[in-house]
Symmetry: C2
Subunit: 444 residues, 2 copies
């Protein structure tokens, strides 16, 4: 890291320093809705006289056990378990919102990193359950251990997915020898106009939730816990619409108006996921078995240019019909794709340089995509909307999957006229964690 | 406007030029879900052979009349009517998302502005109904008149609220004499650190919807229609959680963890709204009767500083308990506030410099607030999260309501230690529009 970079990090660290929730975030589990329910019944008020001014939240804590069970059933559908064989947020259902964050570590010892990962693990498991963090939410003379903005909100299917970037394996932590061969430095691709403010990072954290406020609370809480150990490097919000808003459960459309994700493999197909997503024993570094590689690309759409192109151009660019999502010449979204089928003019119905034709290729390379649209105000240099796709994908070996696929797309994709890649990062995602364990345990 | 500003606008205009949906956006009303339903039944495919490649969307149009009626019932709950005595988006329910946009006009004649407002009116009425815009969504040799990303999505309670700023009444359009006296130039307030990129604008447009993708589609469509007539000046996204995500229907919390909006007047109270929101006959400019003044303030929260302050400080800052939202010393969120009540130490239970005490004052000044939290990545100069409150409020006369209230807050509010106002704008919102009319009709 350059000395400039170090100074910036030091400055950031000072800025981000704030009272942490402490290491014991699970000591007094209390769901956010339990808290709300008690408030609604006036329980706080009744107990106020006895408990004194400092005891309002304490009253919640004492009364909480009585209500936890009644809340269980309604919460189950909104909860995705944090612990398991694999990390959540990869093959689990994709909630409506994304908040992606990259962190840079400011500590120099492996032991300090381990402690951070242990604290993050406990907090993440609590956040996934919709619990308030920490045990100092009721003391007037202390900063609250939970920042409170998600109080009363459901777990919202929160998932938090952790990975480490190539820079994590530089000389600082003595882990260079454990760097997986598959975690290569990302090559330059055609169409890249990467900006540092959305690129790289020692650690990547993907937060998904059905409520933006809940996702924000998660990232903010992780940043607080990291005080003095890591600083935020970049963040990016995203949104999508899935079955919840659309009763028909249709494939969501991207901001170019086309259905996006039709060709995505079925995340419920375990054999397929073992083949294309999960690192297997014998793939290389043993600590990565059960993990995966997460690629994040911030892809801006040249909205105004796209909107000037004809429907014919747009459909030839994607290789699909805009309305139905069917392959060109077809009628149904999910019908088999035949790239060799020619039209009446003797040329392929699906142009060879269309996005679909290039991304599919001969069908031998697959990745698992999890894309979110983003709208981030305007680019004030050009007056254009800064909107596009926050592309996240998972693959077992980026050297054989994402990278060759993107190299082909970067060279020839018709879509390149309408998009620009402004951010890029790759992270090795740890295998899943069991209760009592912590993220990165297999590495440390 | 400075010559630099003009050059910037010219550049922006070139960038934003794109094929417009045309003036006849309502010629073939077709709901976005009708389109989806037809796609689901394979209707497009069945008709493809007869209609030819260019006729896929045409098939939708022809078949649409048969399905519009069946969709009516399910859509009604998701629809807020655009036309009416007052503009929607003011006293109507607040959907989950906000996309606020300010535009600068690039034309020089009143007639061109009128045409823009007429086209925007038609489009807005269609967007509120969840219809596709325009009639060229089926022609391969033309850009689609609707950008398509909201196809299949519900109307999502979309509201679009228009107003004009002080600069609208400069020499360009010959309307200086009609500038309302109440539309003053906003004074500087304590705590202001305004940045040009979120300040001012000839026209302000507030879009609200329960789906961020639908809100984005609306602003993008309005910007397309404005090509050659107006350019985007700034935009800001926002989110909140209301009854939908929280079955208990609790007051949403802001990103400081406190309930926000408890003291907001009841928008269903017509007499109250006539008193504090709607401009009445005799208030000044006759063309504003039935309209209101919309103030937009982008208020960044110094998240990291706030998170270091104690619960006691935080509660004294707002004047309310964090958990219940009750006034300090009280137990219920909506109980009556008594600013004169003293604690055991003889001092007011609610500090005189707390946000609530100053904002309420003697209770004689009220405004109607509509606040949305925002999370807009990071401020890369400081490494801090760029998050806060996109504050929107409506009042009948800002000289007597918002401005004196904010002057008092800017001087003394305890909250000022933790927030900074980075953007500001005020717009005179036209009265409501009847079918066949257009926004601004009373002014032109």
């Amino acid at each position: 890291m350059s000395s400039n970079g170090k100074e910036r990090d030091k400055q950031r660290e000072q800025n981000q320093t704030s009272s942490p929730p402490g290491d014991s975030v699970l000591e007094k589990p209390l769901s956010r809705r339990d808290m709300l329910r008690l408030a609604g019944t006036g329980g706080a008020g009744l107990l106020l006289g006895a408990a004194g001014v400092g005891g309002i939240m304490g009253a919640f804590n004492r009364a909480a056990t009585a209500t936890v069970e009644t809340a269980t059933a309604s919460k189950a559908a909104d909860t995705i378990e944090f612990y398991g064989e694999h990390q959540a947020g990869i093959v689990t259902p994709a909630p409506d919102f994304l908040l992606f964050a990259a962190f840079d570590l400011t500590v120099s010892s492996k032991e300090e990193v381990r402690k951070l990962f242990q604290a993050w693990t406990k907090a993440s498991a609590a956040l996934a359950k919709g619990q308030l963090l920490g045990d100092s939410n009721d003391r007037l003379n202390l900063p609250p251990s939970d920042t409170g903005e998600a109080a009363g909100l459901s777990p919202s299917r929160t998932t938090i997915t952790f990975g480490v970037g190539a820079t994590f394996f530089d000389a600082r932590f003595g882990l260079s020898a454990q760097r997986p061969a598959a975690l290569v430095d990302m090559p330059a691709f055609g169409g890249d106009e990467l900006q540092e403010q959305w690129t790289g990072g020692d650690i990547g954290v993907q937060v998904n939730a059905d409520d933006m406020q809940v996702a924000f609370h998660a990232i903010r809480s992780l940043a607080r816990i990291a005080r003095g150990k890591a600083v935020l490097r970049w963040t990016q919000e995203g949104f999508q619409r899935t079955g919840k808003a659309d009763p028909a459960g249709a494939t969501p459309r991207n901001l170019m108006g086309f259905k996006d994700g039709t060709g995505n493999p079925d995340a419920k197909n375990t054999a397929k996921m073992n083949d294309i997503v999960w690192v297997q024993q014998g793939d290389g570094e043993p600590w990565m078995a059960g993990g995966t590689y997460m690629v994040a690309r911030r892809i801006r759409i040249r909205v105004e240019v796209w909107d000037r192109s004809t429907l014919g151009d747009q459909e030839a660019t994607f290789g699909r019909h805009r309305d139905s999502g069917a392959p060109l010449g077809g009628s149904k979204e999910f019908e088999a794709v035949d790239l060799k089928k020619n039209g009446e003019n003797g040329k392929p119905l699906i142009p060879v340089n269309s996005h679909m034709a290039l991304a599919r290729g001969d069908g031998s390379i697959e990745i698992l995509r999890r894309g979110y649209s983003y709208s981030s105000g305007m680019d004030h240099r050009t007056g254009q909307l800064d909107a596009g796709l926050m592309f996240v994908c998972f693959n077992r070996d980026p050297r054989k999957q994402f990278i060759p696929m993107q190299q082909k797309l970067g060279q020839s994709d018709r879509l390149n006229e309408y998009i620009v890649h402004t951010g890029s990062a790759m992270f090795a995602c740890f295998p899943g964690v069991q209760p009592g364990g912590y993220i990165g345990e297999t590495l440390f």
